[in-house]
Symmetry: C2
Subunit: 135 residues, 2 copies
Protein backbone atom coordinates (compact mmCIF):
# COMPACT_ATOMS: atom_id res chain seq x y z
CA UNK A 1 0.00 0.00 0.00
CA UNK A 2 1.19 3.46 -0.90
CA UNK A 3 -0.10 5.31 2.14
CA UNK A 4 -3.04 7.48 3.02
CA UNK A 5 -4.19 10.59 1.30
CA UNK A 6 -4.76 13.74 3.30
CA UNK A 7 -8.52 13.37 3.48
CA UNK A 8 -8.20 9.81 4.68
CA UNK A 9 -5.80 10.80 7.43
CA UNK A 10 -8.04 13.66 8.49
CA UNK A 11 -11.11 11.46 8.70
CA UNK A 12 -9.34 8.68 10.59
CA UNK A 13 -7.82 11.11 13.06
CA UNK A 14 -10.97 13.16 13.37
CA UNK A 15 -9.41 16.48 12.43
CA UNK A 16 -9.87 18.87 9.53
CA UNK A 17 -7.77 18.90 6.40
CA UNK A 18 -6.52 22.33 7.28
CA UNK A 19 -5.50 21.21 10.73
CA UNK A 20 -3.47 18.44 9.17
CA UNK A 21 -1.67 20.90 6.95
CA UNK A 22 -1.16 23.06 9.97
CA UNK A 23 0.45 20.25 11.97
CA UNK A 24 2.66 19.48 9.01
CA UNK A 25 3.82 23.07 8.80
CA UNK A 26 4.53 23.01 12.53
CA UNK A 27 6.61 19.91 12.13
CA UNK A 28 4.34 17.87 14.39
CA UNK A 29 3.59 15.49 11.59
CA UNK A 30 6.52 14.45 9.40
CA UNK A 31 6.39 15.77 5.87
CA UNK A 32 5.16 12.88 3.77
CA UNK A 33 6.47 11.89 0.35
CA UNK A 34 4.50 12.86 -2.72
CA UNK A 35 2.86 10.68 -5.28
CA UNK A 36 3.38 11.44 -8.96
CA UNK A 37 0.39 13.73 -9.00
CA UNK A 38 1.69 15.82 -6.12
CA UNK A 39 -0.66 14.29 -3.58
CA UNK A 40 0.81 13.59 -0.17
CA UNK A 41 1.07 9.94 0.79
CA UNK A 42 0.97 9.65 4.54
CA UNK A 43 2.31 6.59 6.29
CA UNK A 44 -0.35 4.93 8.42
CA UNK A 45 1.48 5.89 11.61
CA UNK A 46 0.52 9.47 10.95
CA UNK A 47 -2.91 8.79 12.37
CA UNK A 48 -1.35 7.49 15.57
CA UNK A 49 0.85 10.55 15.67
CA UNK A 50 -2.17 12.81 15.52
CA UNK A 51 -3.90 10.86 18.27
CA UNK A 52 -0.81 11.34 20.38
CA UNK A 53 -1.05 15.06 19.76
CA UNK A 54 -4.70 15.10 20.73
CA UNK A 55 -4.13 13.24 23.97
CA UNK A 56 -1.24 15.42 24.95
CA UNK A 57 -3.42 18.45 24.25
CA UNK A 58 -6.05 17.06 26.56
CA UNK A 59 -3.39 16.97 29.25
CA UNK A 60 -2.80 20.64 28.74
CA UNK A 61 0.32 20.56 26.59
CA UNK A 62 0.56 23.22 23.90
CA UNK A 63 1.48 22.24 20.38
CA UNK A 64 4.95 23.57 20.95
CA UNK A 65 5.40 21.46 24.03
CA UNK A 66 4.04 18.47 22.19
CA UNK A 67 6.66 19.05 19.56
CA UNK A 68 9.32 18.85 22.27
CA UNK A 69 7.76 15.72 23.68
CA UNK A 70 7.85 14.13 20.26
CA UNK A 71 11.43 15.22 19.90
CA UNK A 72 12.37 13.29 23.03
CA UNK A 73 11.29 10.16 21.31
CA UNK A 74 14.24 10.09 18.96
CA UNK A 75 15.36 7.04 17.11
CA UNK A 76 15.37 3.88 19.18
CA UNK A 77 16.33 5.53 22.44
CA UNK A 78 13.64 7.41 24.25
CA UNK A 79 14.59 10.01 26.81
CA UNK A 80 12.18 8.85 29.48
CA UNK A 81 13.61 11.14 32.10
CA UNK A 82 13.18 14.15 29.84
CA UNK A 83 9.58 13.21 29.31
CA UNK A 84 8.97 12.76 33.01
CA UNK A 85 10.55 16.07 33.85
CA UNK A 86 8.26 17.79 31.39
CA UNK A 87 5.23 15.98 32.71
CA UNK A 88 6.18 17.06 36.23
CA UNK A 89 6.58 20.65 35.13
CA UNK A 90 3.21 20.54 33.45
CA UNK A 91 1.72 19.03 36.56
CA UNK A 92 3.09 21.89 38.63
CA UNK A 93 1.64 24.35 36.14
CA UNK A 94 -1.73 22.69 36.29
CA UNK A 95 -1.67 22.73 40.06
CA UNK A 96 -0.89 26.39 40.11
CA UNK A 97 -3.69 27.11 37.69
CA UNK A 98 -6.05 25.18 39.93
CA UNK A 99 -4.99 27.26 42.91
CA UNK A 100 -5.57 30.46 40.95
CA UNK A 101 -9.00 29.35 39.92
CA UNK A 102 -9.85 28.32 43.46
CA UNK A 103 -9.03 31.77 44.66
CA UNK A 104 -11.22 33.20 41.97
CA UNK A 105 -13.97 30.77 42.82
CA UNK A 106 -14.05 31.77 46.44
CA UNK A 107 -14.06 35.48 45.72
CA UNK A 108 -16.76 35.09 43.15
CA UNK A 109 -18.75 32.86 45.48
CA UNK A 110 -18.57 35.37 48.29
CA UNK A 111 -19.65 38.15 46.01
CA UNK A 112 -22.66 36.26 44.80
CA UNK A 113 -23.57 35.27 48.33
CA UNK A 114 -23.36 38.82 49.57
CA UNK A 115 -25.59 39.89 46.75
CA UNK A 116 -28.16 37.20 47.58
CA UNK A 117 -28.05 38.07 51.28
CA UNK A 118 -28.72 41.73 50.91
CA UNK A 119 -31.66 41.40 48.52
CA UNK A 120 -32.46 44.32 46.30
CA UNK A 121 -31.69 46.96 48.86
CA UNK A 122 -29.00 49.53 48.31
CA UNK A 123 -26.43 49.15 45.64
CA UNK A 124 -24.86 46.16 44.02
CA UNK A 125 -22.18 44.65 46.26
CA UNK A 126 -20.48 43.02 43.33
CA UNK A 127 -19.90 46.21 41.44
CA UNK A 128 -19.02 47.91 44.69
CA UNK A 129 -16.32 45.32 45.34
CA UNK A 130 -14.82 45.86 41.93
CA UNK A 131 -14.93 49.60 42.29
CA UNK A 132 -12.02 51.18 44.11
CA UNK A 133 -12.99 53.34 47.07
CA UNK A 134 -15.46 55.55 45.25
CA UNK A 135 -14.54 59.16 45.18
Amino acid sequence: MKGLRSGEVAVRAGIGLEALRFYERRGLVPVPPRAGNGYREFPVETVARIRFIQRAQQLGFSLEEIGELLGLRVEADVDCEGVRVRAEAKLAEVEEKIRDLERIRSTLGELVQTCLDQGSSGDCPILAALEPAQK
Copy 2:
Protein backbone atom coordinates in the same frame (compact mmCIF):
# COMPACT_ATOMS: atom_id res chain seq x y z
CA MET B 1 -8.96 71.04 36.76
CA LYS B 2 -9.01 70.07 33.11
CA GLY B 3 -8.44 66.34 33.50
CA LEU B 4 -5.59 63.94 33.07
CA ARG B 5 -3.49 63.39 30.01
CA SER B 6 -3.05 59.91 28.62
CA GLY B 7 0.36 59.35 30.14
CA GLU B 8 -0.87 60.42 33.54
CA VAL B 9 -3.81 58.02 33.39
CA ALA B 10 -1.58 55.17 32.26
CA VAL B 11 0.89 55.71 35.07
CA ARG B 12 -1.79 56.03 37.74
CA ALA B 13 -3.58 52.92 36.54
CA GLY B 14 -0.39 51.00 35.96
CA ILE B 15 -1.04 50.17 32.33
CA GLY B 16 0.66 51.12 29.09
CA LEU B 17 -0.34 53.99 26.88
CA GLU B 18 -1.24 51.58 24.14
CA ALA B 19 -3.44 49.58 26.45
CA LEU B 20 -5.31 52.74 27.34
CA ARG B 21 -5.92 53.48 23.68
CA PHE B 22 -6.98 49.89 23.28
CA TYR B 23 -9.55 50.14 26.07
CA GLU B 24 -10.85 53.32 24.57
CA ARG B 25 -11.30 51.68 21.18
CA ARG B 26 -13.11 48.83 22.85
CA GLY B 27 -15.45 51.22 24.58
CA LEU B 28 -14.33 50.15 28.04
CA VAL B 29 -13.14 53.62 28.81
CA PRO B 30 -15.39 56.48 27.68
CA VAL B 31 -13.99 58.60 24.90
CA PRO B 32 -12.63 61.71 26.58
CA PRO B 33 -13.00 65.27 25.29
CA ARG B 34 -10.05 66.89 23.57
CA ALA B 35 -8.08 69.90 24.57
CA GLY B 36 -7.35 72.57 21.98
CA ASN B 37 -4.16 70.81 20.97
CA GLY B 38 -5.91 67.50 20.32
CA TYR B 39 -4.72 65.92 23.52
CA ARG B 40 -7.24 63.79 25.36
CA GLU B 41 -8.38 65.08 28.72
CA PHE B 42 -9.47 62.17 30.84
CA PRO B 43 -11.76 62.67 33.80
CA VAL B 44 -10.17 61.43 37.01
CA GLU B 45 -12.72 58.60 37.27
CA THR B 46 -11.04 56.98 34.32
CA VAL B 47 -8.36 55.62 36.60
CA ALA B 48 -11.03 54.01 38.79
CA ARG B 49 -12.63 52.59 35.70
CA ILE B 50 -9.39 50.95 34.69
CA ARG B 51 -8.91 49.50 38.15
CA PHE B 52 -12.39 48.04 37.88
CA ILE B 53 -11.38 46.44 34.62
CA GLN B 54 -8.25 45.01 36.18
CA ARG B 55 -10.06 43.50 39.13
CA ALA B 56 -12.75 41.98 36.96
CA GLN B 57 -9.98 40.49 34.82
CA GLN B 58 -8.46 38.94 37.90
CA LEU B 59 -11.79 37.25 38.49
CA GLY B 60 -11.60 35.72 35.05
CA PHE B 61 -13.86 38.04 33.10
CA SER B 62 -12.84 38.79 29.53
CA LEU B 63 -12.77 42.35 28.31
CA GLU B 64 -15.98 41.74 26.44
CA GLU B 65 -17.70 40.48 29.56
CA ILE B 66 -16.34 43.42 31.49
CA GLY B 67 -17.91 45.67 28.91
CA GLU B 68 -21.26 44.05 29.61
CA LEU B 69 -20.73 44.38 33.33
CA LEU B 70 -20.03 48.06 32.90
CA GLY B 71 -23.10 48.35 30.72
CA LEU B 72 -25.26 47.06 33.55
CA ARG B 73 -24.24 50.02 35.57
CA VAL B 74 -26.29 52.47 33.57
CA GLU B 75 -27.26 55.85 34.85
CA ALA B 76 -28.52 55.89 38.42
CA ASP B 77 -30.14 52.50 38.35
CA VAL B 78 -27.83 49.55 38.56
CA ASP B 79 -29.07 46.17 37.41
CA CYS B 80 -27.84 44.23 40.40
CA GLU B 81 -29.60 41.07 39.39
CA GLY B 82 -27.99 41.16 35.95
CA VAL B 83 -24.61 41.50 37.59
CA ARG B 84 -25.26 38.63 39.95
CA VAL B 85 -26.46 36.38 37.17
CA ARG B 86 -23.26 37.01 35.28
CA ALA B 87 -21.14 36.44 38.33
CA GLU B 88 -22.93 33.15 38.89
CA ALA B 89 -22.36 32.11 35.30
CA LYS B 90 -18.70 32.97 35.62
CA LEU B 91 -18.54 31.02 38.85
CA ALA B 92 -19.97 27.97 37.11
CA GLU B 93 -17.41 28.38 34.33
CA VAL B 94 -14.59 28.62 36.81
CA GLU B 95 -15.81 25.53 38.62
CA GLU B 96 -15.95 23.58 35.43
CA LYS B 97 -12.47 24.66 34.53
CA ILE B 98 -11.29 23.53 37.93
CA ARG B 99 -12.85 20.11 37.41
CA ASP B 100 -11.15 19.82 34.02
CA LEU B 101 -7.81 20.70 35.49
CA GLU B 102 -8.30 18.27 38.34
CA ARG B 103 -8.86 15.48 35.87
CA ILE B 104 -5.72 16.51 34.05
CA ARG B 105 -3.83 16.71 37.30
CA SER B 106 -4.71 13.19 38.31
CA THR B 107 -3.83 11.72 34.92
CA LEU B 108 -0.56 13.56 34.84
CA GLY B 109 0.17 12.57 38.40
CA GLU B 110 -0.42 8.92 37.69
CA LEU B 111 1.79 9.01 34.65
CA VAL B 112 4.64 10.59 36.53
CA GLN B 113 4.23 8.10 39.36
CA THR B 114 4.25 5.15 37.02
CA CYS B 115 7.39 6.47 35.46
CA LEU B 116 9.08 6.86 38.83
CA ASP B 117 7.99 3.40 39.91
CA GLN B 118 9.33 1.55 36.98
CA GLY B 119 12.81 3.10 36.99
CA SER B 120 14.73 3.16 33.79
CA SER B 121 13.67 -0.24 32.64
CA GLY B 122 11.76 -0.76 29.43
CA ASP B 123 10.09 2.06 27.65
CA CYS B 124 8.62 5.31 28.81
CA PRO B 125 5.18 4.76 30.29
CA ILE B 126 4.20 8.35 29.64
CA LEU B 127 4.81 8.21 25.94
CA ALA B 128 3.27 4.76 25.87
CA ALA B 129 0.12 6.11 27.46
CA LEU B 130 -0.14 8.85 24.90
CA GLU B 131 0.51 6.47 22.07
CA PRO B 132 -2.44 4.53 20.76
CA ALA B 133 -1.99 0.75 20.64
CA GLN B 134 1.30 0.73 18.78
CA LYS B 135 1.14 -0.99 15.45
